[in-house]
Symmetry: C2
């Protein structure tokens, strides 16, 4: 393997001998740097004392619990060393996303050497004390954990749950044209579905507008305890596969790994430059084939070769701690000592315990250090969005009639369709700071009006007939992979941008654990003041279950609400705005917020509109309000409280209140709407939780409360748990009953229709209101009859009765 | 394109002319059949009357709500017709998994023609009345939904949530050597991660032991409203990609689609036979390259070409209902009528409304019809497992000391390690009826002892050094893709087999929505008595959060428990056995059960053992019991009830009870363990729910109850909601606080340690016990001090204090 000469370095007349000599020296230096990094990584796993092995290794030098992963570590060190060389050589703005995040000993070793750690942990100095502290704190309670985490600078991805490194990397380079993210994908991770589809991400990267990802598929053949698929594939199959994905592939697996990787990185970098320069000079390469590297290296390279007669290096046995009984077994301890001494620590660190200057000199400086790359501190890079005036998107809901009365609910509009008008302005005001990531459902979720101003960003050739697709500047990314949408958005947010993830409600659950992992990242980030908060992760759930009657049971699933509420209360927000103005006001709030996971639930079908923008803003600020215009209790002493949570359930609440007002005028009904779900929790449990007085002011202290909720009733149960007098709450919601049917039949099947509410209200209200009680049984029987008649009509005609579809509040 | 002559059909001397004539006639017949299927499919979407168009089309013939998906339908019909030909020609045991399940109009059309529907819906006869009924009931309330579902025979996969068709198909052929499953993967679905990794599934299929999957990637270029990735790829890229996955690829997209597909199907079938015959004759082909087809056909082929000046056929506009206003707009209605008449219904159906005999003759007969394939009725195929005697796997827990006392909790054993002994026997007794699907964690979850008897089934070449991997008979499938594990298992169960899915607790959530969709399938299946129940879907969650202290926060996530409990109560079961005998007894129960989703949660680390097998069986049967040997209330009148739910939390409960017994002997403590989580729910909500008397007998009616729960406290809140007197419940659990730390510190961070329980018990117990109250403050201060000392020790030493690690009950 000869190293490709770099023309620019030696002037117009290249002296081949000089080039060779230069490269040889560089390779020697890199090999020496790697020895230092490997030593530091291994030492972190095993040692708590005698960290430079200046004394013979004794049991008391060894940590009492050995936690960590050695197997992937030497490979990460190899890559890190060569990236440092590349950064120095070309002054590249580059950082690393490490898919195998359990290889943290490697990242930490390099971050220590480049001095990034010291920037944030000043005690980790280049001397014996700093080194001892550094080595000991790995996998130590209160120290660094065994995996990457937000407390480690340069980290935007933990890699605990595998599968998301690649998509996150692509999100990170979007709208950052000068940035290159190198992403290590382990052969374990490569077996995951999310990774398998993330390889297509380049089809969504405009080389003029965005930076580049250099994927390195790192094959060391083994997972925890078994062969990997990719490690078992032939070079030919790998070349075919990744060529098919659209890459130029270079397999690095020569006997001289350093020389091979050295040349391959130069090649990859120059290919990236070539593609970008072409695009930026106005002569883009069609379907550019971006470079990727496949690195084959033995698992646990340079570690213990064999132990108790079994191979360790190059085997799955080096995945975690290769020798587990070094503290108690002298034989193992000797092997460990030989292994550690093989790196020659005495030659790598000076008398004071500092790494030798020639080793340190191989690290980039300042912000070019991968642990200090500004893009890895998205909170610092973040610029607030320019947001439009809400009132410009207001839906007029109170129509002044000639007789002077106000009417609400008489116009049927789609909430998300109205939101699109607002989003269009957000896009106009923020041409390079905001993107929408959507699983091919933007039009279906009725947000298509944004295409008046922008388009889908897709780089692959499209027919002239295709609409709203282009290769430059499009703010919408549509791919039928929620995993890609989530991964891209995470990378985009964590490098300082803003975004929105609209989706069918039923299918956001596909990324439940990605959201979990992201919420954990956000939670832990808050412990480190040097990580300023990034923009919130904003989900818009539309095509909600109550109006997925046409797609049937598989499309009816509100469980993502529950998943968001499983998160730490401090970081989770769930909003169910009841109409378009509330939805716009809510989203405006979410787009301003930082550090949360915001879930907004909104129906896309035309439905009545209730509040003016001014009212909506006040209602959303409160999180929940009594709607006096819909109530008949004059603000005091209701017989029953009807609570709507969610847009469709609120329509039923209002329909019930409307019917009760005319049919049971003596029943005192209070109508409440909750738009911020978390107000229901106790104040001690959630910052949005109402205090006891406010809760009572809203829902009384003792009157029956009938809740009509968008999702599973159990969610409300867990939220109000701890509130007094719980047996007065009667919670309706989605009872996992669905099919292809009519919208009203969906409500009937789940016992959440207006008539169910009416019957509940009459039964419960009659307990303390004798004028209601006198007719209660008759009225309940009447509404049972109405329900039966409606069901009959639906079966015969295949549509809802006019009484339902034409219902208006006014 | 010429059709490959089939040698076997015409005797030893082939008359080429005769072959050509035969093929020509076959192709003509298939084209005619497709016209009938397309007509029936389109008619289902639009018509409720005049279903044979014997009268001019009028508005009143048209359904009031138009629901359905036309775009994918003609392609499914094309494939179905050719599969019928293949089945008849070679007498193949074959059925179809339709990834785009919203193409149900196609499947239904074919199922009607082949008579499968009539088997289960006798009213859907071959006459005018039957046809009218059939056409009308699509997307009609109470009729067939718009997507495939369990009420449609031949269906084992709904295809509502996209991504899982391919893995399900592979699971279906496992251990069914005579079966071929053809799987249509749409180009929308192909963008999903789960599909992208499922293509590797052949690496886990032994051609001798299992059947084959014929994947057909169906590219019609568009998703709902945009271009697809795969539809935009060149033939060359597609060939590269799928060759890399290991396939022989044939792209079908000739002008003469029928002739091309005809030949390609013969080719694919013969390739499958070649690979299988080689393997079964003892001379297997190494790394066989299985055939796959890529079918390019225009979206909505044969439908309306253009409408209002916009293209429909070959565009995303044909995805759903191509002409939406046919009822109200005459122009659209004329287009629809021309479209429907273009199939020539008068030529396809006889006077009585029955399909012409020559069309029906193209369908296979009896069980060879794809809607009647026995494997699609897994409940009928299912054979109960042979299960070993539980007592053979018993862990002895009561040691008879010389003084005659019984001791519990003095042996530390890993629960899952004990379970492996039982599983080994299950495998021995069921060599072809049971598989374990695991994301590379079987050894890590300490179930490795099964490798004494079986191995990992992996077909790709392995090193001689690799252990427990082989290409024949292995009952364990390990792939680092929870999606593949789940998909395979679903296919395996739905064709009548049994299985287990062990996983790290934190990562089962990756398949949350797959589990949701499967639970929906199971729920709806129960409405059809001709679908007997299949074996339960059994999850074993191990590497649980309390002992993922070494892997850190990313590995600490109990949310899958919540997800299972979001399912319809009738079908969801969650067990948290407190020790090994309970775990074995629980799993034995789960493996016998049918029709449930069973989630079993068990720690893998050594821990105390509490119950003998006899006691365990009784305890598991009850679901929850008082443990009198650990209690100090003599069965009546406790001051406080301590409830352990989950193995690690129960250790803390017992440690607390043990300390309280000696340190606060006057405090009357009752210890309860709950192993079946659903006993907590009200009987009206869940069949396992305890009635009010039983609940009171267990937990008293008014004493403080301190629950120490494995997962999120909110889950217990929602379960006990509705029980009286809720303010006496104090629920501890995982509060989303974690890191890399020690096991005990995990409990401390989440306020679920023994000392937290003790302090709670003293505070609550002192309310009604004055002898406790006298010392309460002193004792609480003491345990606060103990906690602080422990934390200090942990920080200094990196391990838990001996007081914690060496604790024993006895």
């Amino acid at each position: 393997m000869t190293v490709t000469p770099i023309k620019t370095q030696f002037g117009p007349e290249i002296d081949v001998g000089q080039v060779r000599e230069h490269n040889r020296k560089q390779l020697e230096a890199i090999a020496r740097y790697r020895r230092a990094a490997n030593y530091l990584a291994a030492a972190q796993i095993y040692l708590k004392d005698n960290v430079l092995l200046r004394d013979p290794l004794q049991p008391e030098h060894i940590k009492d619990r050995l936690l960590g992963h050695w197997g992937t570590t030497p490979g990460i060190n190899l890559i890190y060393a060569h990236l440092n060389r590349l950064i120095r050589r070309y002054d590249v703005n580059l950082f690393l996303v490490t898919g195998p995040g359990h290889g943290a000993p490697a990242n930490l070793a390099n971050l220590y050497l480049e001095g990034s750690l010291q920037e944030f942990y000043p005690e980790l100095t280049f001397d014996a004390a700093g080194l001892h502290d550094f080595i000991k704190r790995f996998s130590w309670p209160g120290g660094f954990p065994s995996h990457l985490y937000p407390g480690i600078p340069g980290t935007i991805h933990e890699g605990g749950e595998l599968g998301y490194a690649l998509a996150t990397s692509f999100g990170a380079v979007m709208d950052n044209p000068d940035l290159i993210v190198t992403c290590i994908v382990g052969d374990g991770e490569s077996e995951t579905g999310p990774t398998a589809t993330a390889w297509h991400s380049y089809k969504y990267i405009d080389p003029a507008e965005s930076g580049a990802v250099l994927p390195i598929l790192h094959l060391n053949q083994y997972k925890i305890s078994s062969r990997t698929i990719y490690g078992s594939m032939s070079d030919e199959d790998l070349l075919h596969l990744f060529s098919g994905y659209g890459y130029q592939v270079r397999i690095v697996g020569d006997d001289d790994l350093d020389a091979d990787l050295y040349a391959s990185m130069d090649w990859a970098y120059q290919e990236i430059c070539r593609i970008q320069q072409a695009a930026r000079s106005g002569e883009p390469i069609a379907q550019p084939r971006w470079p990727m590297l496949i690195l084959r290296s033995p698992k646990g390279l340079s570690g213990i070769e064999e132990l108790h007669g079994e191979p360790i290096e190059g085997s799955y046995r080096s995945h975690q701690v290769p020798a587990k009984h070094v503290k108690s077994q002298e034989g193992e301890r000797q092997k460990l000592e030989r292994w550690l001494r093989s790196y020659g620590p005495e030659d790598l660190f000076d008398e004071s315990g500092a790494p030798e200057p020639d080793i340190l000199a191989l690290c980039p400086q300042g912000d070019r250090r991968m642990g200090c790359n500004p893009y890895t501190f998205g909170g610092r890079m973040r610029e607030a969005l320019n947001l439009p005036d809400l009132f410009e998107s207001e839906v007029p809901v109170e129509r002044q009639e000639t007789d002077g009365t106000c009417k609400r609910g008489d116009r049927q509009l789609g909430n998300t369709e109205q939101l699109a008008k607002y989003l269009k302005q957000v896009i106009a005001l923020n041409p390079q700071n905001f993107r929408i990531f959507s699983p091919d459902e933007l039009e279906s979720n009725r947000l298509g009006e944004v295409f008046d101003l922008t388009q889908r960003n897709f780089q692959w050739p499209t027919d002239a007939d295709d609409e709203n697709i282009g290769s430059h500047g499009g703010r919408v990314l549509e791919v039928l992979s929620e995993h890609n949408c989530q991964g891209w958005l995470q990378g985009y947010l964590l490098t300082g941008r803003h975004g929105l993830f609209p989706s069918y409600e039923a299918f956001l659950g596909i990324v439940t654990t990605m959201m979990d992992q992201y919420a954990k990242f956000v939670k832990v980030s808050k412990e480190f003041p040097w990580r300023l908060p990034v923009a919130s992760l904003n989900y818009l759930e539309s095509s909600t279950l109550w109006r997925q009657e046409h797609n049937g049971f598989s499309h009816q699933n509100p469980s993502f609400l529950n998943s968001v509420l499983d998160q730490k209360a401090e970081f989770a927000r769930v909003y169910l705005p009841p109409d378009a103005n509330c939805l716009i006001s809510t989203l405006d709030h979410c787009l301003q917020s930082t550090g949360y996971v915001n879930l907004v639930v909104a129906n896309k079908n035309p439905m009545p509109q209730w509040l003016s923008m001014e009212e909506a803003i006040a209602h959303c600020r409160a999180g929940a309000s009594v709607w006096p215009w819909a109530s008949t209790d004059d603000g005091v002493d209701p017989d029953v409280v009807l609570v709507g949570i969610g847009d469709v359930p609120t329509v039923e609440v209002l329909a019930a209140a409307h019917i009760l007002r005319s049919q049971m005028p003596h029943l005192r009904v209070r109508v409440v709407n909750v738009t911020d779900l978390l107000v229901l929790e106790e104040q001690s449990e959630h910052p949005h939780g109402l205090d006891a007085d406010m809760f009572e002011a809203l829902l009384t202290s003792d009157r029956p409360v009938i809740v009509n909720f968008h999702g599973y009733p159990s969610l409300i149960e867990q939220l109000i748990f701890g509130r007094p007098n719980l047996d007065r709450f009667h919670i309706n919601g989605y009872r996992e009953e669905g099919n292809t049917t009519t919208p009203f039949d969906m409500l009937v099947r789940n016992r959440a229709s207006r008539y169910h509410l009416i019957m509940q209200a009459i039964r419960l209200g009659s307990r303390r209101n004798s004028r209601v009680a006198a007719h209660a049984n008759d009225r309940v029987r009447h509404y049972e009859y109405v329900l039966a008649e409606h069901s009959k009509y639906i079966c015969e005609n295949g549509v809802d009765p006019a009484e339902i579809t034409n219902w208006q509040w006014c």
